[in-house]
């Protein structure tokens, strides 16, 4: 956090952020379920400037077989960025960052998936970042959770993710790219809204204990907003888009 210092005003005297948002206001979020033909479940999300596609296959046979678990299904996840998704063209081979994010997303979704219902099988989640912006791991998680539900995978709760952070000494909801570069802290959080459990939390940047508590609470409030949009996406898919 805070490596480069520029002239940008992260919070103006009216309490507005560099993109005009209020401190507790998320960016524009749009989720559409069931966008792919071949995948068993899928979702597309636009979250700020993030554009992300998630596809789910399974439960299906595990290859190689020795990876299968006789007690419960296994979950696999790949978070992958397109070469054109960032300013400087990205090498398509998975980076260490992508491998780590794949792992934390998998572990954030696993508590919600009833893997005990389908032993010896695997559910594969493939996430493709078409365009990256700040908070892409939360947006990816939100799309992946909707894709799992779209695939009809039994789930004990939704998983909803949103970051909070510290900018100009203030705790704010949903850090964008500039705030991530210039701000003081970024804390992505994933939350099961009914079971009230945090399934992902990371932090880069320095917070006092008091700020830490406020930041977690702010992120959870964002997760609850996302949850409503996730539910709407699934309603629209299965019962038709009422707004149209």
């Amino acid at each position: 956090m805070g490596v480069k210092k520029s002239d940008i005003v992260l919070l103006d005297d009216k309490g507005l952020r560099c993109d005009g948002r209020k401190i507790d206001q998320p960016r524009r979020i749009m989720i559409k379920a069931g966008v792919l033909k071949n995948a068993n479940g899928s979702a597309y999300i636009e979250f700020g400037e993030n554009k992300i596609l998630a596809g789910v296959f399974g439960p299906r046979d595990v290859h190689p077989k020795h990876l299968a678990n006789t007690d419960r299904g296994i979950l696999r996840c790949r978070y992958h960025m397109q070469p054109f998704s960032v300013s400087e063209r990205k090498n398509p081979a998975p980076s260490r960052r992508e491998i780590e994010i794949s792992k934390v997303i998998k572990e954030a979704l696993e508590p919600a998936v009833m893997l005990e219902n389908f032993p010896r099988t695997v559910v594969d989640i493939f996430i493709e970042i078409l365009q990256a912006d700040g908070g892409s791991r939360c947006a990816a998680l939100d799309a992946a959770a909707v894709a799992l539900a779209d695939a009809g995978i039994p789930m004990r709760d939704m998983v909803s993710a949103c970051a909070a952070g510290k900018v100009a000494d203030t705790i704010v909801l949903d850090i964008n790219n500039e705030e991530d570069q210039e701000g003081q802290a970024d804390m992505p959080v994933a939350y099961m809204p009914n079971l009230e459990k945090i399934t992902l939390i990371q932090l880069d940047g320095v917070l006092t204990p008091q700020e830490y508590e406020k930041c977690v609470n702010t992120a959870i409030s964002g997760c609850k907003l996302v949850y409503e949009i996730q539910k709407k996406a699934l309603r629209d898919k299965f019962f038709g888009d009422e707004s149209q």
Partner: protein, 269 residues
Amino acid sequence: MNVSIIDQLKKKKILSLLKDGQRVDGRAFDEPRPLVVDTGVIPKAEGSARIRLGDTEVVTGVKIQPDKPFPDLGDRGIFICTAEILPLADPNAEPGPPNEDVIELARVVDRGIRESSMIDLTKLVLQKDKSVVGLFVDNSVTDYDGNLFDACSYASVASIMSCKIPKWEMVNDVPTLVDGQVSDPPITTIPVSVTMGKIGDYVIVDPNADEWSCMDARITITTNSNGNICAIQKGGDDGFTLEQLLKCSQISIATGAKIREILKKVSGS
């Protein structure tokens, strides 16, 4: 590698329909599927397109960056075209390094554009032998329903036609971005590939996934705006007669002309 019984039954069905002059999805033999093209879908890329050819979907982005020229090619810019079948596009696709099919796909799409001289690369030199503009066209298949050759080719061409080239000036031998100034790409022709499959002795245009899985051979012929042929790739485990080859070239010219009109409309040219 085993041809499953289901595949054998499918092929039987498709062949018997072809004998009656019909295709599984009701198209004429020389009729490609509907092509839908959206450009500018990835605003952060210098050019982009999402296309659907039937139920095959491809998202393509063009990144444009200064680069060193290749040795002995110091007087022209760089053009590189890749292709990847994303694992969410197909239950059988696997993440990881590309297999020979995907390598062939990328090389055929690249060659169709390169051999047509679509982009005048001599216009993309910042300083001879030192610094040139590079166009990197990355095709990502997001949904699979056969014939990726044409789908990736159309997505590449549409994203190139719609791209904007930033301006760089050499300052102290370093290419330096001139903010806010962009130009259209130096396009000389619009190459269009047309892929035909051979099932038994029937030749069909733009095979869908069912047709693709049971065809005996295929040929991709790329034509340019003048109706000349600029690239060919034969594939598959059977051969073509001379007569079939000549017929394929005619189909590719006629069908290519129709597709070219769709691509032209999209970019407003």
